[in-house]
């Protein structure tokens, strides 16, 4: 089933999680329908195999369901929590096969191309998403690569240093600089700030 169109539930992500913690199956179904395209999409982008991606996506959503009672909003948005679980499972799965499943830039392009433009509830989100996409594209290539390798492929700075054949300090600097620029770009009034992309030195 494709995502979201069959059942509409206006409750927030947090409210659905709270209901799932009380074994509310309807809430769980609404949550799954809200997130399955993103969870499956991320898993598939990382493992590059539909059958394995479904296995990863199912396990991720089962874990979200099981861990719903201990979700801590202070650690980030629900979407980030769900996608971090998905990413970690996908990375674990793919590490058994290859070191890096796809080019980081391909994943960024795939993410930008696969967004569904409508529902009204996501209008504001889609604006910010465009800004983030622009922010990523404007980053120096080596910083974008480090950030995507860490965010989407779960690599630590040490692993990136090995993968990119660069010193550990450089890997850390690239990740930090890229993350700060994404943050600055979205925080700037009116969206992107050209100043956010100056000074691409990565030590």
């Amino acid at each position: 089933m494709s995502g979201g169109e069959a059942v509409s539930d206006s409750r927030s992500d947090e409210a659905l999680l709270a209901a799932m913690a009380l074994d509310d199956e309807a809430a769980a179904l609404a949550f799954v329908r809200r997130y399955q395209r993103r969870v499956f999409g991320m898993a598939k982008a990382i493992v590059n195999n539909s059958a394995l991606a479904e296995e990863v996506a199912q396990e991720a959503l089962i874990r979200v369901w099981r861990h719903a009672p201990v979700y801590d909003a202070r650690r980030g948005a629900v979407a980030t929590w769900v996608l971090t679980i998905t990413r970690n499972l996908a990375v674990d799965a793919v590490r058994l096969q290859r070191s890096i499943p796809a080019e980081p830039d391909e994943l960024v392009a795939l993410g930008l191309a696969s967004r569904e433009p409508d529902p009204a509830v996501r209008a504001e989100e889609s604006v910010t998403t465009r800004e983030i996409g622009s922010a990523l594209r404007e980053l120096p290539a080596e910083q974008r690569r480090a950030l995507v390798l860490s965010a989407y492929y779960g690599l630590t700075a040490s692993e990136i240093a090995v993968h990119e054949s660069i010193p550990l300090g450089t890997a850390k600097t690239r990740i930090r600089a890229a993350l700060q620029k994404v943050r600055a770009a979205v925080a700037a009034p009116g969206g992107l700030s050209p100043a956010a992309f100056t000074g691409g030195s990565d030590g």
Binding site: H67, T80, T84, V108, S114, T129
Partner: protein
């Protein structure tokens, strides 16, 4: 100066913490620091927000037909496996408690025997046990048993949802003072632990569990 150095070291790790790739002791150290440093905590929150935004770019794709049905079946199966494991663990906990009681009875017997025969340190009498439910938000999440003796012992079993992580055990004493008596791991909601107490059992009025961040997880009040 030392504090500033600590902040500098922690901030070096914050991007990886926010991106969710920092694990193990490194993650625990960062969480510990953040619970005591508002400046680093604010920086971490900003980086976590940036990561939240970054994940909005995660690609989307329709899962194969039947995805939901298979997911619900899998969840049902997961619940059945968990129920079976709970039954097994229940039997194991009862076995442990029975063995503990037997061992304590034996210790008490040995103590009394030593007292009667005039060898070894004198003991004032049989070992006493006090127990209480460990509660979290009104839910029963385990058990605490305090045994008198030299030294006194604390036993704890935990069944706390699916939470995993290191927890500290803090005992409360008469007069309200508190003391950490050790830490242990909870894995997928389950944990069991025992430790000698540095104070007489009669002094202990309660016990609580705290996450590495200092967040209280559960507590037990022991009647005196």
């Amino acid at each position: 100066m030392a504090e500033e150095l600590g902040c500098a070291l922690i901030r070096d790790e914050l991007p990886e913490f926010a991106l969710g790739v920092l694990s193990g002791p490194g993650r625990e150290i960062v969480i510990d620091h953040l619970s005591n440093c508002s400046a680093c905590s604010a920086e971490a929150e900003a980086m976590v927000r940036a990561t939240d935004l970054l994940f909005r770019l995660a690609p989307e794709a329709d899962p194969p037909p039947g995805f939901e049905v298979r997911l619900l079946e899998r969840h049902e199966q997961s619940l059945r496996s968990r129920a079976a494991r709970n039954r097994r663990d229940g039997r194991r906990v009862r076995t442990v408690l029975a063995a503990t009681a037997a061992a304590l009875a034996l210790l008490a017997g040995v103590g009394i025997g030593m007292l009667v025969s005039g060898t070894g340190p004198s003991r004032s009498g049989a070992v006493a046990m006090r127990s209480a439910e460990l509660a979290s938000d009104g839910h029963d999440v385990g058990n605490v048993v305090v045994e008198s003796g030299h030294p006194a012992w604390l036993f704890m079993t935990v069944d706390y949802g699916s939470w995993s992580g290191r927890v500290s055990c803090i005992v409360t004493m008469r007069g309200g003072s508190r003391m950490s008596v050790g830490s242990f791991m909870i894995l997928d909601g389950y944990g069991g632990w025992a430790a000698p107490l540095p104070v007489p059992a009669r002094m202990v009025t309660g016990a609580r569990l705290e996450a590495a961040s200092g967040k209280p997880l559960a507590h037990a009040s022991l009647s005196t």
